[in-house]
C-alpha cells in the first residue's frame, strides 16, 4: 500500500490505516483483540464509564489494549447535551492518553442521530479548551462546514444510523461534504459489510470508523480482515479513477484478425 497511497493525517498525526475501529459489543475481550489486530487499525475508540465497583461488569479496556500500540480515541457516546459531552471529553483526557476526543452529542434515542446544534456548541468549547475534536455528524454539508470552521480536526458524517448496517445511503451528500471541506472527512457509522466500506471509500473520503459491523459479524476476525482490505480497495479504486459506465457493450478482445 505504502507506494500506492499516502497516510491518513489528522491534526498533524499520520495513520497508516484509514480504518478506525470501536471496541464495543464484542462477544469476548479476546475476540475483540484478535479482530482489532486483523483490522489493521491504529486508532481505536473507547467509551468513558463508571468503574463497576461490584465487578459484575467488564473490567477496563486498558487491561486488554496496549495504549502504546493503539492510539486510543475516547468518545462521548451516550451524551445527549453539550455539557455532558464536554464533561465526558475532559474525563477521557484526564486518563492521560491524549487530548483527542470523538465528539458525539446524540439528539434522539431511537435513531442515535446527532444533535447538530449541541454538537457545534460543544465542539467550539472543546476546541477552545485544546482538544483535537473529531465530530460525529449527519450528512448535512452546512453543519459539516460549520464544524470545520469551529476548528474540528476531522468531521465524521454518518453513512447510515449507528448499528444499522444499512451502508452508504446518501453518496451524493458524502461526496459533497468531502469536496467542500479541507479537513479530513471520516465516515462514521452505518457500514455493514466490506462492500459498504469499499463503496464509501470510493467517494473519496479519508477514512471510515466502524464497530458493529465487526463485533456483530458471525466471524469478527474474518470480517475485520475483510474491512481492512475493503477500505484499502476502495481507497485505491478512488485514486485509480474508474472506467466510465456505459449502457452499450465493448469487446475486450480484438475485433480484427478473425479467421476467414
Amino acid at each position: 500500500m505504502k507506494e500506492l497511497d499516502t497516510p491518513m493525517v489528522i491534526a498533524g498525526r499520520s495513520f497508516g490505516s484509514r480504518l478506525i475501529v470501536g471496541t464495543g459489543k464484542y462477544r469476548t475481550n479476546d475476540e475483540m483483540v484478535r479482530a482489532i489486530d486483523a483490522s489493521g487499525a491504529e486508532m481505536v475508540t473507547v467509551a468513558v464509564r463508571r468503574v463497576d465497583l461490584d465487578r459484575t461488569r467488564e473490567e477496563g479496556i486498558l487491561y486488554h489494549l496496549d495504549p502504546k500500540r493503539f492510539f486510543l480515541l475516547p468518545n462521548t457516546a451516550g451524551c445527549y447535551n453539550a455539557e455532558d459531552a464536554i464533561r465526558y471529553a475532559r474525563l477521557g483526557r484526564a486518563a492521560g492518553v491524549s487530548d483527542w476526543v470523538k465528539l458525539e452529542v446524540i439528539g434522539d434515542e431511537r435513531t442515535l442521530l446527532p444533535d447538530v446544534v449541541a454538537t457545534l456548541e460543544a465542539a467550539k468549547i472543546l476546541v477552545a479548551d485544546g482538544f483535537k475534536v473529531l465530530a460525529y455528524t449527519n450528512e448535512d454539508v452546512i453543519t459539516a462546514l460549520r464544524l470545520e470552521d469551529a476548528g474540528c480536526a476531522a468531521v465524521m458524517p454518518l453513512a447510515s444510523p449507528i448499528g444499522s448496517g444499512l451502508g452508504l445511503v446518501n453518496p451524493y451528500f458524502i461526496r459533497e461534504i468531502k469536496s467542500r471541506l479541507n479537513c479530513p472527512v471520516i465516515v462514521d457509522a452505518g457500514v455493514g459489510t466490506a462492500s459498504d466500506a469499499c463503496l464509501t471509500m470510493e467517494q473519496g473520503v479519508d477514512g471510515i470508523l466502524m464497530n458493529t459491523a465487526l463485533a456483530e459479524a458471525q466471524d469478527p476476525v474474518r470480517m475485520s480482515t475483510a474491512m481492512r482490505l475493503g477500505v484499502q480497495a476502495g481507497r485505491l479504486a478512488y485514486l485509480a479513477g474508474r472506467m466510465p459506465r456505459r449502457e452499450v457493450a465493448v469487446p475486450s478482445s480484438p475485433v480484427s484478425g478473425m479467421l476467414a
Partner: protein, 66 residues
Amino acid sequence: MTVIVNGEERSIPPGTSVTGLLVSLDLHPRLIVVEHNREILDRSVFDATEVRAGDTIELVHFVGGG
C-alpha cells in the same frame, strides 16, 4: 462517614484520602480517573486529597465503545 461513590452511598473512615479510597476499593490509581465533587482530580493530588462526608466521587475508566 458517608460519601457517594459512583452513585452509591458508601461509608468510609474519616480522613480517607482519594488514594485510600481507591485502595479500599481495590482499584489501581493508574487506570482510574477521579471526579471529586464534579471536579476532575489530577493523579498527583490523589494522596493529598481528603474525602469529606457527603462528597460525591465518580470513578471512571475506559470501557469498550464505538
